[in-house]
Symmetry: C2
Subunit: 218 residues, 2 copies
Amino acid sequence: MDLVDDAPGPAARQDTARSRAGQENVARILDAALDVFATFGFRGSRIEQIAAAAGLSKTNLLYYFRTKEDLYLAVLQRTLDMWLEPLRALDPARDPADALGDYIARKLAASRDEPAASRLFALEVIQGAPIVAPLLEKTLAAIVAETAGTIEGWVEQGKLGPVSPRHLIYSIWATTQHYADFAAQVRAIEGRDLSDPAFFAEACEHVTRTILQGVLPR
Amino acid sequence: MDLVDDAPGPAARQDTARSRAGQENVARILDAALDVFATFGFRGSRIEQIAAAAGLSKTNLLYYFRTKEDLYLAVLQRTLDMWLEPLRALDPARDPADALGDYIARKLAASRDEPAASRLFALEVIQGAPIVAPLLEKTLAAIVAETAGTIEGWVEQGKLGPVSPRHLIYSIWATTQHYADFAAQVRAIEGRDLSDPAFFAEACEHVTRTILQGVLPR
DNA sequence: GCGACTCTTGATCGAACGGTCAAGGGGCGC
DNA sequence: GCGCCCCTTGACCGTTCGATCAAGAGTCGC
């Protein structure tokens, strides 16, 4: 799950003891950095901009994170866990309609609650996943394999129609993440986004019904 | 459809007469710029990198496009047309299954043939659509309104189940664009992408069947 | 209240980058 | 083959940005 080799050389300031104020600053920096990186990408983000968003001076930020890249990796690492969490595999013992419905709801809630994390991940992948590629090929591929196996089992038991498991997974990811990654577009058309409970319910109901009807046996 | 006011001041070199070599250079620059911008975004892209990709010197590129922003706008403008084309409205007179199937196939083919255009557009929207926002609110919203009206008509005629037109549109966009925007992820899991005819057929069949089954009356 | 830290700051550096300038090729029409 | 104009180049400039440094302010334990 780690993106970087730890302790790559001289002790980073990140490793030293830290006061209460220090911990709060680190947290504020990570929050601000997530927003900025998720909007402008790595190269497009200015360290000073992140510092300002966190209420610190640029120099002060660099006291906590030695380089811009260190900060980016820290943000990405913290984000990936919360991002992968809703992707956890399906329970083969459950009824597919229930299990898939939960899965979709979880993923859509993640798009509502952590849109910046979704966008940061999307930016990474659009850029060819220069950093997270190893993680995709290992962790994510493993999660997909497991999930696909469960779906395949349901198909063989006749609980699902003849569906391609991996494409089904892509469909669910795509539709749910769309509301976070393309929020600006949805907002331009719709005038609202997932933070509106009514719209969230609509989206959840549509995605669930469409996909479930599409894969359940007729 | 225009993104910029034309002739914003002194005559740009873009307006002057142009030899055969010049036209070829402009085309090569625009192609290279699309790839680079689609990968690194506006701020993350280096003008020299684009020039190198086009086989020109930085100064030479700046002869054709006065500023980086001019070049970006030119790329975006040329891209948007090809991007919006497959979104053209559905024919209300047709059978919804046929019309929607065509729509999906067209959109998926666009993801295969112009993945960079799709990614560039995605980057723009993820960043909050700083430049294309007006276009989204006008042109795109109009296209959506028309398409949604057609779908609504099918619903009222009982040719479709009770589906939310706009969410259906989002689902189609999301699933088809996913194969272009998240190609790196799909490749990491799948080992191939839409350029593989077999995979394209799989994806097309899955999306079409899942979505159509999900919206056709039972 | 003293000492040892963690934290904060402003001045500053060097590289990278967008953009300019002046000068010189090179092709095309006449 | 001559001249005009498009094209190409390399040297250069000013700014921005990531990163360093030295010095001082807070703060916490004792």
